[in-house]
Symmetry: C2
Subunit: 381 residues, 2 copies
């Protein structure tokens, strides 16, 4: 398969590029280093330095023999993106090329404007380039479970049938998000659904929960092939922050009461899900929406798991509740469906004590590199 | 009241500016002539030439004695817009500053990109400038009935309670539109609803149907104060197109079967609605959504009304069905609620034979200016 990966330098993009290349697919990787630039500007560098995309691709080729083509450029620049589609003629495009941080999008006006403009223009450009150059190409777009927010009703996979005053219709499941970043993902879905109906393109929109993990068969071949590991309050996720706090000997910082519940998944399962979506394409004029996570945890449960793993390694791990820097429900109903990817064949890797302990051991090797200034909230909303 | 009107050179913006100024309010009018520029670029000039905003304001002052302040600038330029809020300190801002044409947004990539970027960045900027400079200012935003599309269920005013698997919650009414322009209005609503929740701002989002009419008490004082009258396939509406076709002696062009039903309103009622919204502000942290139209017609009914008016004036008016250049349902269920503005006090001006005949007589005075090349569809989707 000819696979085009946009945002291929990212936490998910790079392991995805290796995953498809290792399975013999023809991979073209695109990135403009936006996330690296924003991380540099905001002192949010990852714990382990990552070689740039060109270097990673060269190391990957030396270690495995598999080639990955690459282009450095901005997907929000239409002539560039159109040339990429024209030259690579993808059968599948995997679109990760967005500003990925909720707190960054809430930092101030410039960050809000960048997030809105970048994410929307990139998605518009992907749809147009696909329509103009390779109209049968299957677009796999990364959305987020955060689009749904935390409603009082069960969350279905993308769609809901509404019966109202004796009549019925089927609609996109209602969505209301907790950050501007998540709101741009709602808008992406609006945009995709519009062009799916108008142009009969084929799209899978994956509503993904927070991903954790550093280990994939390809990444484990060489430390220099590791995924990015951000642990700061902007580009890091809560699992990474807790691991780094445990390694640094400072309390795990739970925001508010800690009853916030989300669906999580292992990086290995993201790779499986994206591959399952790619190998089971949808028909033209179909927007398939799949909820991509394997199990739900509260923040308190995650803190407890990291605390246990730390204690097993002889660390003293405390938990501290901070005033919540975000506006969000701290105790809430949460029952999201997630059967679609299981039906396609997903074999979940659950968050066992062993998985957390492996990650923590990895982090401990970089204990001296931890910058404690990065692990406390710098953005409030 | 200090009233800031964004997009004040538009078909609705200019009559709104005169309406508030004539009632003694302090009006600041802002426009960058984007619509004039796009109309010029696409040969879509209005039937009657309109003086520019500065000239209109001067004529209005000469004729009525009322002053309107104005700033020429781009609301998508944040420093400009912030300075406008800082200097004018509005109590109400009426936001019309968007690319308003559905067919223009479907013309090609540059037009799609301009529409998405302009409309979204303008709304983001309005919200930010309001939040930073005048956080208690009431934002009145023009949305469109087109956000809802033509669902199989009754359309409520903005919100719907959904009961699902034994639980209930209240959500934005589901929306799926028929053009990119209309989709940007959906995204505007997503954005407004997000910031209303985060920042406790106060917003009224008016879901307006197509507006017709050239006559207002202020505009009728001098021909040079008339609203813009576009009749082309891009910036014109169906009522204007039919009137011009009747005046030009060519058939009224109905797209497809003509059962497309929408809610329409007279320009006089738009002015009433916007004023009612302004004089009945919402609380902080409230997004009020009102469906702004007074009566529903099919395209065939509109063609019939114009045909009757034409015959009454001795014109020979034929009706011709063209292949529909748009993807839309040509026969469909349509039952939208619209009681909110009536409850606030709206006194509708219905589309009587007299109203149509008055408009047609006005158009006939400019019969020689009609460019027939403009009244056939140039954009298909």
């Amino acid at each position: 398969m000819r696979v085009l990966i946009l945002g291929a330098d990212g936490y998910l993009g790079w392991p995805t590029a290796m995953h498809f290349a290792a399975r013999g697919h023809e991979v073209v990787a695109v990135d403009n280093y936006l996330r690296r630039t924003l991380a540099l500007q905001t002192r949010s560098e990852p714990l382990m330095a990552n070689p740039d995309l060109e270097q990673r691709i060269e190391i990957f080729r030396e270690v495995t023999g598999h080639k990955i083509a690459f282009r450095v450029g901005d997907c929000a620049d239409y002539p560039f993106l159109q040339s990429v589609f024209r030259e690579s003629r993808p059968e599948v495009v995997i679109h990760y090329a967005e500003q990925p941080s909720a707190p960054y999008s809430m930092r101030g006006y410039p960050e809000a404007a960048l997030t809105l403009r970048n994410n929307l223009m990139t998605t518009l450009n992907v749809v147009w380039a696909l329509h103009q150059e390779t109209p049968d190409c299957h677009l796999i777009k990364l959305g987020t479970m955060g689009e749904y927010g935390t409603p009082q009703i069960e969350i279905e996979e993308g769609w809901i049938e509404i019966e109202h005053k004796g009549r019925k219709d089927r609609f996109l499941f209602p969505r209301q998000a907790g950050s501007l970043y998540h709101t741009t993902k709602i808008m992406d879905t609006d945009l995709l659904w519009f062009y799916v109906r108008m142009w009969k393109i084929r799209v899978t929109d994956l509503m993904q929960g927070p991903v954790y993990g550093l280990s994939t068969p390809e990444a484990d071949r060489d430390d220099r092939l590791a995924p990015n590991f951000h642990y700061d309050d902007l580009f890091g996720t809560v699992v990474n922050r807790f691991l780094v706090q445990a390694a640094a000997g400072v309390p795990l910082t739970v925001y508010g009461r800690g009853g916030q519940t989300r669906g999580y998944l292992n990086l290995l399962d993201t790779l499986q899900c994206v591959e399952l979506a790619a190998t089971h394409p949808v028909r033209n004029r179909e927007l398939r929406i799949l909820n991509q996570f394997t199990e739900c945890f509260t923040i308190n449960e995650l803190a407890g798991l990291v605390q246990q793993a730390g204690r097993a390694l002889g660390l003293k791990v405390e938990i501290q509740h901070l005033e919540n820097p975000r506006q969000e429900a701290e105790e809430h109903f949460y029952q999201p469906a997630h059967s679609g990817l299981m039906e396609l064949g997903l074999q979940p890797h659950y968050m066992s004590a062993g998985v957390i302990q492996d990650m923590l051991e990895r982090v401990l090797r970089y204990q001296n590199e931890i910058d404690q200034a990065k692990i406390y909230p710098r953005v409030c909303w």
